[in-house]
Subunit: 253 residues, 2 copies
């Protein structure tokens, strides 16, 4: 079920797949490994409840987590998806305003928050890395705010499809020219909660894109992106424009 399954099972985060460790010096890595703990979660399990004090921070090794907020009436909004390589958790004692749950089966590399923070003084590079991660997440959040506020459901859908494709490319370079097939690792309900709409609208958007030959529905969770240029035009937030240019240069070259 993993959208981005790793080639070999991991036993710790020293793998090159682990973006947190791979950019650190040897001693820092060793210390991190010492306090790390690999944990497995089933789909639907709660890693952190809303309004709970963050006691762990960590990194996704495989699977997908959703960061979500719940409204009074039970509606849920997903404010971010955590894919393999992404860091999660706050490095401060303040309580969280988001819940983190496993959207699929997931393997995480976890650290006790306080032990993790204690390493900051000894290895400032870890804090640098953390600051970079949070900054990146903020950028992504602001990008998504733009989408939620200004784009139609179909446009958001197209943007999400292109995002999934971009995510899957780095691990899939040999198939760069092959048929671009993406796997959506979450159910329609989560998709709706992420795109800020309803299950029904998600279905209609998907079917509409299929009717317009932008995509081909292989099964409810796998789609072939038939007309990537068309999708990019649909999406064309400035971020996606860059993708479009890259796509054209690949075609031309």
């Amino acid at each position: 079920m993993d959208a981005v399954s790793l080639p070999t099972p991991l036993t710790n985060c020293l793998s090159t797949q682990c973006s947190l460790c791979s950019t650190l010096s040897e001693p820092a890595r060793a210390e991190l490994t010492r306090i790390s703990r690999i944990r497995n979660f089933d789909a639907g399990e709660t890693i952190l409840a809303e309004a709970e004090t963050f006691e762990i921070v960590g990194q996704v090794l495989s699977g997908v987590l959703r960061m979500q907020k719940t409204l009074f009436d039970g509606r849920q909004q997903i404010v971010g998806l955590l894919m393999p390589g992404d860091l999660f958790g706050h490095v401060f004692a303040r309580t969280s305003h988001v819940a983190i749950e496993a959207a699929t089966e997931a393997v995480l590399c976890c650290y006790h928050r306080q032990s993790f923070e204690a390493l900051f003084t000894q290895f400032p590079e870890i804090e640098h890395r953390m600051l970079a991660a949070v900054t990146e997440e903020l950028d992504a959040a602001q990008d998504w705010m733009l989408l939620l506020a200004t784009q139609t459901v179909t446009q958001r859908m197209a943007t999400f499809f292109l995002y999934l494709r971009r995510k899957s490319l780095p691990l899939d370079v040999p198939h760069l020219m092959g048929p671009p097939v993406i796997e959506v690792p979450i159910c329609r309900k989560d998709l709706a909660a992420y795109l800020g709409t309803t299950v029904e609208s998600v279905c209609r958007s998907i079917q509409q894109m299929a009717r317009e030959h932008l995509i081909r529905i292989l099964d409810p969770h796998r789609f072939e992106l038939v007309d990537i240029e068309g999708l990019a035009l649909l999406s064309h937030a400035d971020e996606e424009f860059r993708d479009l240019k890259a796509y054209r240069s690949i075609r031309a070259g």
Copy 2:
């Protein structure tokens, strides 16, 4: 025009009003002051253009800045407002994806980015503070994503009004029990761009809330919050629920 005007004019950021410096040790503060530079901006001036490399970081001393993104078709979305005390700028060399402009006249305490970063090794507490600021901003962004995705325009409006009230309270404690009057420091156009809607819808929402006696319009930029409980019920994202409870306990006590 400042929503939160400071009691006395500031000449540097050593003031207690400066949240960045006030939490730091004396030597760190001294160093920061040494490299700081106070700058004034008129309403509408650009502090940082989109896709430009961040060369300064700093803090808002007075006035309001808007962080905004521009779409291909010229529409603009505000992804965050920076109020007095807020930090701005990325501490990395990567180019920005947002533009920062002065929404009102503003006074900023600026640092050259590289000089600022250079202090990290000597004073890790500055980096701590920066990490805290970015984390806080991320929280705010996720809160706002929830609003943009799930609430109606009127609900977002109500949430924004309550947010402004909360912001103004700390500096206005003696008037806690007085008539809650808020001052909206930005024009309707910015309001619409922040709430993810249009100028027309903003007007309609405001007039509707006035008709329902939730607010009273003093002038286009000042409102009396007549029925705070009603506004909180309208807004009731979980964050506002806390406000509601606090309000009730004040009333009961």
